[in-house]
């Protein structure tokens, strides 16, 4: 009798493992598939750039072939105003945000998870502190804060992204806090406490690892979208990555004059790369959110 009962239970839990994908709406599946494809493409292109396995030399100027459109004279995505290969520079442009973006995500998730657990599990002053921090960070437009930091320190892109990570941490903390408050009311935490499981194991294994990892993964994908936006915006404004090092932001900016003269492609190629990437990470985050977190507010 008991075996059959436990078998049945096992099957239930098996199904509930599968269910996120199999019960997801079709739109969400497409979101996740497209987003995952973008993420893989970014990762592979990053690796290609890091290994310098590039289609062409990114600095080489071909003055016979400036401002070419796609697939002209053997340039797959054309050339820019100096005759440099756009495809190569797009691949290299990923270097501008990828590692700095990971740094900002790492800071935001680590700090956010710790603060969130502290606030949710302990409550009281820790909770008030996190609420205050999160309101404080929301009080200043992020780009204004960035300009302030830039005016003060003239920092590199890693420092800028570290600041982005620090300012994202309270948002992550608020989400984790909400999740912990919800979990605390459930039986398994109470049972773990009653069984004498050490608090460290409850917090790190049962709360953070088993129950917050999808939430943190979702925040990581959204964090990458944010990193792309911040890096390209700042590079566009002239404060991020500087020419001749390619960044999608400074490529749009450098091509803008030619765009106004009617040569749309130079500026649009990096802009479309930004669009596809940001869209991909947003869709991945939202799709995962709908599947695993029941589409709650992020």
């Amino acid at each position: 009798m008991t075996t059959r009962y436990s078998q049945a239970q096992e099957r239930v839990s098996e199904y509930s493992q599968l269910s996120a994908w199999s019960t997801a709406r079709r739109a969400d599946r497409w979101r996740v598939l497209y987003g995952a494809a973008v993420a893989v493409l970014v990762l592979v292109s990053y690796a290609l750039g890091a290994l310098h396995w590039l289609p062409r030399d990114p600095e080489a100027m071909d003055l016979q072939a400036m401002l070419l459109g796609p697939i002209e004279q053997g340039y797959l995505l054309g050339t820019d105003f100096m005759g440099r290969d756009i495809l190569t520079r797009l691949i290299l442009g990923i270097q501008a945000y990828f590692l700095p973006g990971l740094l900002s995500i790492a800071i935001a998730l680590t700090l956010g998870a710790l603060l969130g657990v502290l606030a949710g599990y302990r409550g009281g002053r820790a909770e008030m502190g996190v609420t205050y921090l999160s309101n404080l960070v929301d009080s200043m437009p992020r780009l204004v804060l960035m300009l302030l930091v830039i005016a003060a320190f003239k920092p590199g892109i890693y420092t800028i992204m570290a600041v982005v990570g620090l300012t994202t941490a309270p948002t992550v903390a608020t989400l984790v806090k909400g999740k912990v408050l919800m979990l605390k009311a459930r039986n398994f935490i109470e049972s773990a406490v009653a069984l004498g499981v050490p608090p460290r194991a409850i917090v790190f294994r049962h709360i953070l690892w088993y129950n917050c990892r999808t939430l943190l993964l979702i925040q990581a994908t959204l964090g990458m979208a944010e990193a792309v936006l911040i890096e390209t915006s700042l590079s566009y404004l002239g404060f991020g990555v500087q020419e001749p090092t390619p960044s999608w932001g400074n490529m749009v900016q450098a091509g803008a004059n030619y765009l106004l003269q009617g040569n749309l492609w130079v500026s649009s190629a990096p802009a479309l790369a930004i669009l596809a990437t940001v869209l991909g990470f947003h869709l991945l985050g939202d799709g995962l959110n709908n599947m695993f977190e029941g589409g709650q507010r992020r």
């Binding site: 739109a27 309101n135 929301d138 200043m140 204004v144 003060a152 404060f239 940001v278 869209l279």
Partner: protein, 325 residues
């Protein structure tokens, strides 16, 4: 229970909540000012040394210089004198132009406020119909297409889209004073004011979040029991639902998205040469013009906090139960 009396009690409760919110607003503004001050105090380089051409004497002579310039020597003294001046409306003088910062911030701040408020109206004008339609017909194909379109528009880089818009209007229609700082002489000046506003409203990334949040709220409220009761007895559903389903979420979106729209304004102003706070901030970051960037940060935080306070006021007004929490 005398009805008048309970009304007074309710008003008192609302007043208490608002007083608490006001205190929280003040505490947050103090926090922002401390953060801003700390960042610039940690910046390398001594502004007083810069003033003296880089050679600041040490020891007692240094103290004499500070005394002569009437600058407090401790960091908290400097902070307090800065905040005290802020409270008197004195934001200091720009290091670049020598003009009082407060005047510049008010002049360009009004232009940015126009841009921001207009953009929020555009966002809501697009988001509300899509969200309501989406909540009423969650499975329709048209809604799926609209949702996708909103996603794509929100992911477009504003700086590129701005150039495309300028290109299309100036080259194809020939009706746009390209990049003229203050409106230009040509006709269609109103268009010059309208395009940045439309662009910021549609493509600053707030649209998709606004649609999402509004649609969730409308769908949630339409499933509430009191709405079902209203429908069952033949009463108007919207008359019962609009407060919770529309007024509250809209107030929340306006309050929570103002920082994002202000941030987006920096880029849109750069593209369109719009002489607002964003361009001022950009210039100040370029020149390390500390008084200007400090003033802008404080002004932005003030606007954000006031909007948040207004949101709380709307919340308590619509939902008096909240004042008992």
């Amino acid at each position: 229970m005398i009805p008048g009396r309970s009304k007074i009690a309710a008003l008192a409760a609302v007043g208490r909540v608002l007083a608490r919110e006001l205190a929280a607003t003040a505490a947050l503004l103090v926090g922002v000012s401390l953060t801003v001050f700390a960042i610039l105090a940690l910046a390398p380089g001594d502004p007083v040394a810069a003033l003296l051409g880089g050679n600041l004497p040490a020891g007692a002579e240094r103290d004499a210089v500070y005394e002569a310039l009437n600058i407090p020597k401790t960091w908290y003294g400097q902070y307090l004198s800065w905040v005290g001046n802020l409270l008197h409306g004195d934001f200091g003088n720009s290091l670049r132009t020598g003009q009082p910062v407060a005047q510049e911030i008010v002049a360009s701040g009004l232009r940015t406020l126009f841009l921001t408020v207009g953009a929020l109206f555009v966002t809501l004008a697009v988001a509300v119909p899509i969200a309501v339609y989406g909540a009423l017909r969650p499975d329709s194909r048209r809604v799926a297409v609209l949702t996708m379109a909103v996603y794509v528009v929100s992911a477009l880089p504003v700086f590129w889209l701005g150039y495309i818009v300028i290109f299309v209007f100036s080259r194809q229609f020939g009706i746009f004073p390209i990049l003229s700082a203050s409106g230009g002489e040509g006709q269609m000046v109103w268009l010059y004011a309208l395009l940045p506003l439309l662009l910021l409203g549609l493509a600053s990334g707030t649209l998709s979040e606004a649609v999402r949040h509004l649609r969730e709220e409308v769908a949630r409220v339409l499933n509430e029991e009191y709405v079902r009761t209203a429908r069952a007895k033949g009463a108007s559903v919207w008359r019962h639902a609009y407060k919770e389903a529309l007024v509250l979420p809209v107030a929340e979106i306006v309050a929570s998205k103002i920082p994002f729209v202000l941030g987006g304004a920096i880029i849109v102003e750069q593209v369109f040469n719009w002489p607002g706070l964003g361009r001022l901030a950009w210039q100040a970051a370029q020149d390390r013009d500390f008084p200007v960037i400090m003033g802008i940060a404080m002004a932005a935080a003030l606007v954000v906090r006031l909007a948040s306070f207004a949101h709380r006021a709307v919340y308590v007004a619509v939902n008096p139960r909240a004042s008992h929490e």
